[in-house]
Symmetry: C2
Subunit: 220 residues, 2 copies
DNA sequence: TATAAAGTTTAGATTAATCTAAAAAAAATA
DNA sequence: TATTTTTTTTAGATTAATCTAAACTTTATA
């Protein structure tokens, strides 16, 4: 059964919004994510439901079927593998790859993705620290904590970022923060939960709570 | 100005059918190439004409404008670079890459193609021996002759193939013929112009005139 | 050169994907 | 519980890309 480019993007949106609790997703939430209108979403949901990719009842929101979930997971696999390719082989920086991967993830060829994976050495994480599901759709989980929950005086290593948008990643570049960087919390400012940090035991910065919530770390 | 996936495919079709003499191309020829109907072609041609990508006069056929020609050439550049990537880096065989490259050629990112070209070492020819235009759209020309025009007793080296469809390339594989292979003509059969050949001074075969017309060689 | 054949365009539909505006249902709240 | 607010759906259009059938032009040929 052929799934269009657009249908694939809706599946990804539902997957993302459902979270790991796989909760039911509403029309408005999808329309916001997809930058379309609620009316368009209702239309598309009916189509996905006809194709047995989502479970749908009027006014009740949608969940992915097993088929839909599998398809969404494979899209994420492709997206993240292409991001690794772009960074590792073509020397793109982590803030440049997402939009190109959004296009590449729709290329249809099982053989291609199988060979790409092998060429890259079956990476387990993408350039933003997100896990890459394997061919069967299984993710490698690892324990990570938002930096915002670490205590004053602690040192940790950056494992991943929550948001991947370019301005945020460029901001991290400007602070010399990248995957693997050590971050020590000098002081937590009580007033707004901003953090005074030391990056790789060299440069000192202050970051807002919002930034610290978007940095996933492990205790060093 | 945004050019759709479909519009790009029509531009490529016109480019191909016009040949290097850049002759005017008719509606039926395009519909055959694109596997659509003449009516669809007329419709699309009007759209391309509105976008100044083709010159069009009713009942008179179309030619590419400079813009259209530049765009078509860049598509061919992308297609052929991706084919090189698939063969050189992902170990695909030459008969497997065309359909995947048909998808990859539509990925939009100048930076991507620039880096891909560098990663591949700026190859001048693709896995089928077709020249890859440079970033300015210039092709490297080289003199090559169809094997069908070589004389009895001559030895030559395979530089390229005219058709790239999978069954033809698989047939060549079965004859141990690939780019760089030496082909010596033992005998030209007068009746149907089929050729008795020796491949790499080891295996002997008979190929039809049609096959020999699709093999481009240089005298050894 | 008149007629037939080939090639091309127009007319009118269809499908996917989108929109705005209005109606309907569910959820929140007074 | 009645009313208001929010969310979702339906109705009706629009645009890109496609089709079939019919009309029209150009080219070939008798
Ligand atoms: Mn991404
Ligand atoms: Mn990523
Ligand atoms: Mn090709
Ligand atoms: Mn090729």
């Amino acid at each position: 059964m052929l799934i269009t480019h657009t249908e694939e993007n809706y599946l990804k949106a539902v997957y993302k919004l459902a979270g790991k609790e796989k909760k039911s997703v509403g029309t408005n939430a999808i329309s916001k994510q997809m930058k379309t209108t609620a009316a368009s979403v209702t239309d598309m949901i009916k189509r996905l439901s006809d194709k047995q990719l989502v479970n749908y009842e009027r006014y009740r929101g949608v969940t992915l079927t097993n088929d839909g979930n599998r398809h969404a997971t494979q899209l994420i696999r492709k997206h993240r593998l292409w991001e690794v390719f772009l960074v590792e082989k073509l020397n793109f920086r982590w803030e440049q790859v997402h939009d190109i991967a959004e296009q590449l993830e729709h290329i249809k060829s099982e053989n291609l993705i199988h060979r790409l994976d092998a060429f890259l050495g079956s990476p387990r994480f993408d350039p933003h620290g997100d896990p890459i599901p394997n061919a069967e759709g299984k993710f490698m989980l690892r324990s990570q904590t938002p930096l915002s929950e670490m205590s004053e005086g602690s040192s940790s290593i950056l494992l991943g970022v929550k948001e991947h948008d370019t301005p945020f990643l460029e901001y991290l570049n400007s602070l010399n923060i990248k995957l693997g960087t050590e971050i020590r919390i000098l002081e937590k400012i009580k007033f707004d939960n901003s953090l005074k940090i030391v990056v790789d035991e060299s440069s000192q910065s202050v970051i807002s709570e919002k930034v610290s919530q978007n940095l996933f770390v492990r205790r060093k």
